[in-house]
Amino acid sequence: MSIQGWTYLIVAVTFALYIGIAVWSRVRTTAGFYVAGQGVPAIANGMATGADWMSAASFISMAGLISFMGYDGSMYLMGWTGGYVLLALFLAPYLRKYGKFTVPEFVGDRYYSQTARVVAVVCAIFVSFTYVAGQMRGVGVVFSRFLEVDIDTGVYIGVGMVFVYATIGGMRGITYTQVAQYCVLIVAYLIPAVAISFKMTGNPIPQLGFGSVVTEGEHAGVFLLEAIDQIHRDLGLPEYTGAFIEGKREMIDIFAITLALMVGTAGLPHVLIRFYTVRSARMARWSVMWALVFIALLYTTAPAVAAFARVNLIQTLHERPYAEAPTWFQNWETTGLIRFEDKNGDGLMQYGEDPDTRELEIDRDIMVLANPEIAELPAWVVALVAAGGLAAALSTAAGLLLVISSSISHDLFKSIFRPQMSEGEELTLARVAAGGAVVVAGYFGVNPPDYVAAVVAFAFGLAAASFFPVLVLGVFSKRVTKEGAIAGMVLGIAFTAAYISYFKLAKLGGAEDWWFGISPEGIGSVGMLLNFAVTLTVSRFTPPPPPEVQALVEEIRLPSREE
């Protein structure tokens, strides 16, 4: 069967599975819709969190990014996993112990203020929408490459899928669908990685393979990473494993970005809300553990895939005649993701740093998507990778949409506009809000805002500078007041948003104007420190929280009472 035949088959089977799970786990209560009835086992929640967290960007783009960045790519690896340590230590068990439905609800109760809750809701909705637009686009892109429909049609199919299972199943449906999606995406990621590792180094474990000796080709007998460094030196590129050298990021910038991504991860509402779905604070701690295990499986494989792809790509293309290019090269050339222009007219393909003489332009997404073809794996593996990319994009989109839906129906309507609403009415409203959010997300998927790249920095920077300090201080200090929290959130966000807008949207300055050499991607960590400082200072000069709030904090800190 052809690649396309296999792709149709595997995508159809997985989609039928997702819909089946959604129908089986449909819900009739708001608790079921918002937090899956708080009965999800820790290991299942761990898998669901893994799928929720790992988006189209993690699955498709990250290995390619690292492949081009070398050591600098480590900031994504550490940043997007280290946040789970902060989650486990500072947030997940306490938010579960508090035990209501949403993150803004906790902010509102702890800071005895509807204003604080509204600020939190606005942040949650903004962060989630910026994220979800990218996911919908990702669904469209995967469809268009593997099924040869246009990107917009792909987006409509994705919207239809998420619409069905998010509105019927709510959090319960999403959770169990995500468990299935995690399995699909991890298998799809590991099979090509293992095959390539074995082919290049004789070691089937990619995590060890990229520290092993190359067994074939012109670099046989040399350690893989040494071979890449040598290739880079020959091409005039900075060494792959080199840090803080010419052509790479400064130490302070890597530090700041890693910190911003970690703290941002721990402050993202769609991640936090996953830990409301388990039975107890104790289970919340264990499900963070499982989540990190499942995430680490992909995140430790990605840098290996990146290194293999680097060698493979340069070895099979650089200085080779265009007429003898491998078939995968021709397949992907038609998508425009890889381009050759014979600038010096010698019929050979040259790769290098200088954009004026470089003849190959390679999109980073190709590293994962074309991997199975580069390694000459069978057609069904190629199809599986397509299904994996779709699983990653759909699962993240669904988790984000649920946050938007619960923010609107629970935090805005139920608490502020219509407190007398019955549970049945609230549930209907939640479904309508989820449906509406899917349609809006689909619109952004078809008409992506041109500031998408800046928007990612925004989402993490905002989450780092707004939620994280306020949530942590809410549990670990009884003295922090509503005035402190609101001032901290507003100033943290305003500072971070202004810095990012100045450099990324308005483009009023270049790298030489960065404060202390910190790029807009890393500024969230400064915003976070500012938030902590402002919140603590203002709290000192305002009246302490009322006794019932202090009692709430005491109660949250106590060990969980289950059984």
């Binding site: 790519g73 500072f90 520290g211 990473l225 840090a243 803080f244 890693t258 701690r285 680490a296 840098p303």
Partner: protein, 84 residues
């Protein structure tokens, strides 16, 4: 005196565990993987320069172990409180 009867003692024990684990979290990622990455790269672990390995593999493995140890440690702390 058990921690169950004295919430303050339970909380203090929790904070002690937190600060130990947080120090390891910081060292494994920001120190070994960023600040000291160049001197560490002078050493190698198999085919990996050591600093590079910490940045792309070691730190992540340490994170997993930290979260596991925390869950286990807190289970014991809570159980000790309930037993008395």
């Amino acid at each position: 005196m058990s921690e169950q009867n004295d919430p303050r003692a339970y909380w203090r024990a929790n904070l002690r565990i937190l600060s130990v684990l947080l120090a390891i979290w910081f060292s494994a990622s920001f120190l070994l993987g960023v600040v000291f990455v160049r001197p560490l790269n002078a050493f190698s672990l198999g085919g990996f320069p050591l600093g590079f390995w910490f940045a792309q593999q070691g730190s992540i493995l340490v994170f997993v172990v930290l979260v596991f140890v925390y869950a286990l440690w807190m289970d014991r702390l809570e159980k000790r409180g309930k037993g008395k």
